[in-house]
Each structure stands twice: as structure tokens, then as C-alpha cells.
Amino acid sequence: MTNAVELREITKRFPGVIANDDVSLAVEPGTVHALLGENGAGKSTLMNVLYGLYEPDSGTIELDGQSRTFDSPRDAIDAGIGMIHQHFMLVPPMSVAENVVLGHEPKKWGGLATDRERASNAVDELAERYGFAADPDAAVEDISVGEQQRVEILKALYRGAEVLILDEPTGVLTPQEVEDLFSVFEDLTAEGKTLVFITHKLGEAMEAADEITVLRDGVNVGTVAADATSREELAEMMVGREGGLDVDAVPADPGAPVLSVDGVSVSDEHGGEHVTDTGFSVREGEIFGIGGVDGNGQAELVEAITGLRTPDSGTVGLGDEEITRVSRGGHIERGMAYIPEDRQERGLVMEFDLTENGMLGSQHIPPLGGGRIDWNGARDHAADVIEAYDVRPPAPAARAGSLSGGNQQKFVVGREFERDPDVVVATHPTRGVDVGSQEFIHNRLLELRDSGVAVVLVSANLTEVRGLADRLAVMHDGGFVDVVDPDNVTEEELGLLMAGERPEERERADVTADGGGGTRDESPGDGTDAGQRSTEGER
């Protein structure tokens, strides 16, 4: 049988990154194919190649056995490909029917006006054929997000799409809407349409897809049939194994608790809950690791701890002080260093040079900051960081934007580590950094720990968190599935935990530093709540 979509050895490079490295993908007609991987694995790039947004550096595209090249999405649309982006491309004040026919309106009066009646009928007909409930005359801004997504699907179908690409379609939906979407998938494949959807949630891939292809770091790790695989296998494929972590960690000698997080819940402005009733505490001289597949609430939890976001409920304490509602600047003043996930959006001002970037966060803190900034001192400070962390080019006057990603990261890490912090919150501290510098950053992190700093280490790289952390929490669906001793946990167990399943018989490390006794409702002794809640969420 000819494949509906056949991508052969696609390679797509961006300056400094290989987004897709020799990736092949075959999708059978009338099936649902999931493209699974972490953020930055190259899923969207691959689909943008298929949709004609990017031109591949090498490789070929075949549709129904015919070789194709696309110069633009228009070519791809003409070839029967439709793409539903994560952020909808709809015009909110216009009606459903108007949005569906946009750009391909049925005309009347010799092309002078849109034939609304025919547009409306066409939408009705399409909706009926695929079993959607859609009011063609409702304004898009008045309908729910799930319905808006269906309008996007209708739009693609109206343009004659045979292959539909959905980029993270469930990201914006409620659980009920996700169920509805998956039943729409069935209706579509029943009509012979072929679907490719991008996701980083392995549960969804297993539920909705016939076949699953896993991408990691731009490489196709493998394609498996959804009914012949397991969550653990997928989690392992996604996260991967890099060789053992080479650190000479002396066992931690933790002191008093420094950072305490208690019952924190975080939701976004749309009401979606990202973190649910999560708590832990970190002691002096200890690294608390938070692992798990990206997008399970780690980013939101970190924002709540570092003062970028106020949690809906729960408290964050630093030493004896509650800092839940203290401003971001207050967190910095109290000695919290923070390596943000996104160095180009947050960690650095791209237009500033390294001297100026070295002051980011310390601009109000003496001796260099305060009312007047001591720029000579700041230049020396930047030069020190550059030298210690091997930032290239070694020039304080270099614009941050002109540095490669790895060097940007090294500078951010250096700036934050050299703040003389009491607490370090490090998210993906070695992302994009070369091996030598990774080792340096790891050792520096251990040095900080040994000097009595409390460290929260968030990383999707399991080898890294396992090698460095003294206690390791695995996060799934907005909560900790479990907190384990990283030296006494097997890879298989971690794979299960990352998938949100908690092996019951396993021994747990304590959630709270002082033995966990009674500081939280959900004490570790009886604590299967988190795990149960998560597994329930999956079923």
C-alpha cells in the first residue's frame, strides 16, 4: 500500500542547530500518526517542512507515492495538506462560515461579493459529514476553544485537505474537549483522511494514534505501533540515555531547611491548572532534583518559587520568611539565584552587551548596582564570569545576541552562580552546552551545594538529575508522582514514574526535608494521593 505521506531523510539546519537530522517518516493513509518528543526535539520543524513553511536542506517529500516540492504553504494546501496550528489562525469577530471559507470564498455577482449562503451551506454540509456540531453563523470569538479548533479543522477540509497536521492540538483543551477531539479523529479517519499530530504527552499518543514516531534532538528514534508499546518504552525513547554522568559527588551533608514550598497550586488566566497542591523543602547543602517530561508543570512551579508568578494557593518560604507574595526583585535581594528555562527571552537582553547583561538582576544591589551603576566594576565582573565559565568570544563588549546558544547559557549560569546565593533554582542549566562546559557547570553546582547552598535542579535530562540530585522528585501532570532517592531507583522505575504511574511497593525518600512528619496534609507516610490522582487523570 502506498503511504499517504512519505518523508525521506529530511535534514533541516538552522544557524547553529540541526533541527532535523536525516529524519524519515511514513504515514499510512487513513491512520492517525503521533509525532512524540520533548520541546525542541524537532517535531514542529519536520511538520513545517511538510507544510511548505520550511524548505529542507536535503531529503524528499512524497505524497501518495508522488514526489513533491513545496515552495510555500499554498503549494502544500494545493497538494491536499492542511495544518492546524497550536495558536489558531482565525478572525475572532467573523462568523464560523466566513472563517472556514476565508481566502477561498464562493463568489457571486461576478466575483464582487462573497456568497454567504453558499458558504454557510458548504460549512453545514462538511460539519454534517464529519459529525461536528457547528453553527456557521456564530462569531468565532463567542465559541469555545474546542469549537474553534474544529473550525480550523473544517477550514482545512474545506480547502480539500487529505492529510491533516495538528500541532499540539490538546495543549489548549480541557480533558473533555480532548476526548471530543479524539472522537473527531476517528470520524476523520473513517472518511479516509490521514492525520499527523504533534504531542509531547505520551498518554495522548497512546490513546489517539495508530502509530507513534518518537523524535529526540532532531533524530527519529523509532516508530512503534501504539498497541504494541508501553508508556515506559515511550518515555525512555523520548528522554534517551546519554552516557553516565561523570561527577565525583561527595554525599550531601544537608543542614537546616532553606526553601520550603507548601501546597502550591498554579493556574493560568484561562483557568487551566498547571500545578496542583505541590510541596517540598530543600535544605542547606542539598540538591533537590525535579525530573519528568517537559510540560508537566515544572515551568509554572519554578515561576511560583522564583517570584515571577503568584500561586493561587500555598506558600513559599525562604529561611524563616514567607516570600509567596514578595516581588521578583525581592527574591533576588534575598539571595535567590535563578537560571531561567529560556535564556533568550528571559535570561539575557539580546541587545545588551555582556557587561550590561551581567548586571541583570543586580542593578539595584550594591556594590555594583544601586542608584548609580558602577560600570567599570560591572565590566570586571562580566570579564570574571566570562573567564571562569569559558564564554566565547571572551569579550564583555560582545552583544549577547551575537553569542551562540551554548555560550549564552554559560554566561547566564555564571552570572547566577556568582551571585553568592543562598538558594539556586536551576532549570535545564546545561541545555545546549558542550560536554566540557557541562561537566564544569555540574561540578560548580556541587561546589555550591557543598558550600551550603540549597539547590533546586529542574531538568528533563534524567542522567543529569539522577547524577546530581540528592533527592529526586518526578513530576507528572502538575504534581509529584513520587520523591525518590536517585541512587536507589532503576531506570524502569523512573520511566514508570515519568508516565505518571507509581509502583506501590517502592521505597520512598521523604518529601519534606525534616522527615515529612505532619507538615503537610499529604504526608509521605500514607502519601499515595499524588500518585493516585495522577493515574486517575490518565484513565
Binding site: L360, G401, S404
Partner: protein, 427 residues
């Protein structure tokens, strides 16, 4: 390379231009505008009828001399400096320059904070009215001997305070109600003008006057025309004050933590928040500072030029926007940019007086020069917003030390078709 790539690459190149390149661009722009304007003058002169042609062009004759017009335009702005260094034409040039420095700085400082303050005009009106009324009311209580020492600083201070408060309004609306400052500042311009008109015509009008204006401020409060003759309405003190504000603002932006917060917010709000900057407070304080500078401009206009508040306030605030764009929103650039405006204002008066060229055509020539000089800077601003020259890393790790600095910008622009923020997985 597609057309879009070409445009993006050109914008990225413009964004990356050094200040010397930008200066050269401005000079080239003036030269180009002179060529284009010269052709327009020549052709209009051929169509016009006159007693005696002023310029012959290989046979056909023109009533206007395109070269002479431009010579007058620039020479007329400085007058006969060698014979009389303090002549009225130079005074006019410097007076316009001084006034525009204040509003130019006002727009520039807001721009640096990432805010487009179209409301300098309204803030200037608020400051001017506050200054005039305060000085009029305070004058009787101030002993004559202390008049100038008390009234002038008091007037300037009130101008700054009320301009600042009026600027803080759109700042607060943006910070706490998410109202776009472009829209609110435009609307507040009308509010300021109409409220000032109402207040003056209903309560504070000069008894004997037919027009809407306050009484004349007492002589002690007037910024006397020094060096340049009486009637020039130009006080060197104001020029010095303007230069001091330029230097002070430059220091504030570049050397202080407040300036750092402001610039960081303007360039990359997310990073500013990460760095502990309170974004809402920064918006309000930046707009208040911007308004205060415009308010001082209003005070100076009342105390130096008009001698009272009248409803006919010149469009200094709007010209300030152009001045700021010409200056690349850099306080130091505001002085030459304002000077260009001053030169054109004074020079075009000379052209009207000395040549037969009608003033409408002179206006065209002025507009051409400003348009040509402003365009590169305008496109730079657009470029900064839409082209992110190097969001993608140049090289993988361990890149060569020097190359990384010199990599051509073109290679770093976003891949085509990608929207800002629609990077991998849309996160």
C-alpha cells in the same frame, strides 16, 4: 532568496548599523532630498511665469533657482554670523532648536522604555497652562527683587509637575488597565487642548483681549532675551537648560539603575521582569518622566516665547516625535535633530523673503528633507520590532572567538515563514 528574505535582511542590516553609518545615512539622505527637491523647484519654476528667469537649464528657463534656494535655506538659518554673530536669524534657529529639545527628549525617553508617547503635545499644554497660571497667581506675593529667582524656577517646576502628572495618566492606564498608550495619549492631546481652552476662556482670560489667552506674565518671570537682541525671544539660559537636560537624561539612562530598568523594559520586557523590574511601575514612571520633560517645554514656551498662555500652542509636541525618530531615540541625538528643525524653520523664512519661491513650495522642500532623514531611522524602528536579527545562535558551542562577533546578520535572521514566538512547538 525570496522577496521577504531580502526585505528582512535589509531591515536586519539597518538595525545593526553603527552610529557612524547612521550619521552617513542621514547625510546621504539630506543630499538625496536636495537633489529631488531641486528637480521639483526647477520644474515648478518652468511652469511658473515671471518677469525674468532666475535659472537657465540648457535652453529652457526656470523662474526659481534650485541651487540658490538651498543656499538660502541653509545660509538663511545662520544669517550673517561673521558680521553680527547675534543676528535674529540665528536666534530664530536656536529658539526653535531649544524648544524642540524638550519635546524631543520627552518622546525619546518614552521610546527607550518601549512606549510610544504621542501625547507630548498634551503634556506640553498641561505644563504650559500650569506654569502660566502659577506664575500669574504667585507674582503678587513675591517681592520684586526676588521675582526672577523665585518665579522662573517655580514656573518651570510647575510645568514639569503638571506635564508629568498628565503623562502618568496614560502610563497608569496602560499598566493597570492594559490600554494602549498610543490611543490614550492621542485622545488626551485633545482633552488637554479643549480643557485648557475652556479654563482660559471661562475663568482666566485676559480682560482686554479678544482671543483666548491669559494675562501676560510679569516681567520678572520672563526669560529675558540675552545676547541676542530683545524681540528675538531667545534666552541662552534655556539653551543651556536644554543641553543640561540632555546630559542629565543620558546619564540617567546609561549610568543609573533606574535607567537600566527603563531600557531593559523597553528592549525585552520578559527579561526585565526576570531581572526584578516591576513592569507596571516602570511604565508609569517612564511616562511621568516623559510628560515632565514635555511640561518643561511648555513652561519654557510660556516664559520665553509667548509670555502668557494662549490657546494657539504650536505643535512642538508633534514635531518632537519626528525629532526623536531622527535622533534614533538617543538623548544625545536629539540636539542635532532639533537643530535640523531649527535650521529649516529659520532658513525657510529666509527663502521666502529673499527668493520668489512661494512658501508652500518651501514647505515641500522642508518636508522632503525631514522625510528623507527620518525614513532610515523609521525603518530601523520597524526592523527592531519585527526582525530579530539573531535569535538563532550563530554557531554551536565553542565557536571561534572572533568570528562569532562578525557573522553577517543575514545568516541569523529567522527562517522564512516563522512567526515571532512560533518557534519549536510554539512555546
Amino acid at each position: 532568496m525570496s522577496r521577504r528574505d531580502t526585505i528582512e535582511a535589509a531591515l536586519a542590516r539597518l538595525v545593526a548599523a553603527s552610529w557612524i553609518e547612521r550619521l552617513l545615512l542621514s547625510i546621504a539622505a539630506i543630499a538625496t532630498s536636495i537633489v529631488v527637491g531641486g528637480v521639483i523647484v526647477l520644474v515648478s519654476g518652468m511652469a511658473a511665469t515671471c518677469e525674468e528667469p532666475a535659472f537657465a537649464f540648457f535652453g529652457p528657463t526656470s523662474c526659481y533657482d534650485p541651487i540658490g534656494v538651498y543656499v538660502q535655506l541653509f545660509q538663511g538659518a545662520i544669517g550673517d554670523v561673521l558680521g553680527d554673530p547675534f543676528n535674529f536669524r540665528l536666534a530664530l534657529t536656536l529658539k526653535e532648536t531649544a524648544l524642540l529639545v524638550f519635546t524631543g527628549l520627552s518622546v525619546a525617553v518614552a521610546f527607550r522604555a518601549g512606549l510610544f508617547n504621542i501625547g507630548s503635545q498634551g503634556q506640553l499644554v498641561a505644563g504650559a497652562l500650569a506654569t502660566a497660571l502659577t506664575v500669574l497667581f504667585a507674582a503678587p506675593f513675591v517681592p520684586a527683587a526676588l521675582g526672577a529667582i523665585v518665579l522662573v524656577p517655580l514656573g518651570l517646576l510647575m510645568g514639569a509637575v503638571f506635564g508629568g502628572l498628565y503623562g502618568a495618566i496614560p502610563g497608569a492606564l496602560k499598566a493597570y488597565a492594559d490600554a494602549n498608550e498610543v490611543i490614550t495619549t492621542i485622545m488626551l492631546n485633545f482633552v488637554a487642548a479643549q480643557v485648557a481652552f475652556f479654563l482660559v476662556s471661562s475663568y482666566f482670560s485676559a480682560p482686554e483681549s479678544q482671543s483666548v489667552e491669559t494675562r501676560t506674565v510679569p516681567g520678572a518671570a520672563v526669560l529675558e532675551s540675552t545676547l541676542f537682541g530683545a524681540g528675538s525671544n531667545f534666552s541662552v539660559f534655556v539653551f543651556v537648560l536644554g543641553l543640561a537636560l540632555v546630559a542629565g537624561l543620558y546619564y540617567l539612562l546609561q549610568r543609573t539603575a533606574f535607567g537600566y530598568d527603563l531600557r531593559t523594559s523597553g528592549l525585552q520586557a520578559e527579561a526585565a521582569t526576570y531581572g526584578g523590574v516591576d513592569p507596571k511601575r516602570t511604565v508609569v514612571t517612564s511616562m511621568a518622566l516623559s510628560g515632565a520633560l514635555a511640561g518643561v517645554g511648555g513652561a519654557v514656551w510660556v516664559l520665553m516665547v509667548a509670555g502668557r498662555f494662549t490657546a494657539a500652542v504650536p505643535a512642538l509636541g508633534f514635531d518632537g516625535i519626528t525629532v526623536s525618530i531622527l535622533a534614533g531615540n538617543n538623548p544625545l541625538g536629539v540636539v542635532p535633530a532639533a537643530l535640523l528643525f531649527g535650521v529649516l524653520k529659520s532658513g525657510s523664512l529666509a527663502v521666502q523673503l529673499e527668493t520668489g519661491v512661494p512658501k508652500q513650495l518651501v514647505g515641500v522642500l522642508r518636508g522632503l528633507i525631514i522625510l528623507f532623514v527620518a525614513m532610515p531611522e523609521f525603518f530601523r524602528l520597524i526592523g527592531q520590532r519585527f526582525v530579530t536579527p539573531d535569535r538563532e545562535p550563530v554557531a554551536t558551542d565553542g565557536g571561534e572567538p572572533i568570528e562569532a562577533l562578525q557573522t553577517p546578520r543575514e545568516a541569523q535572521s529567522e527562517p522564512p515563514g516563522s512567526e515571532p514566538g512560533e518557534t519549536e512547538d510554539g512555546r
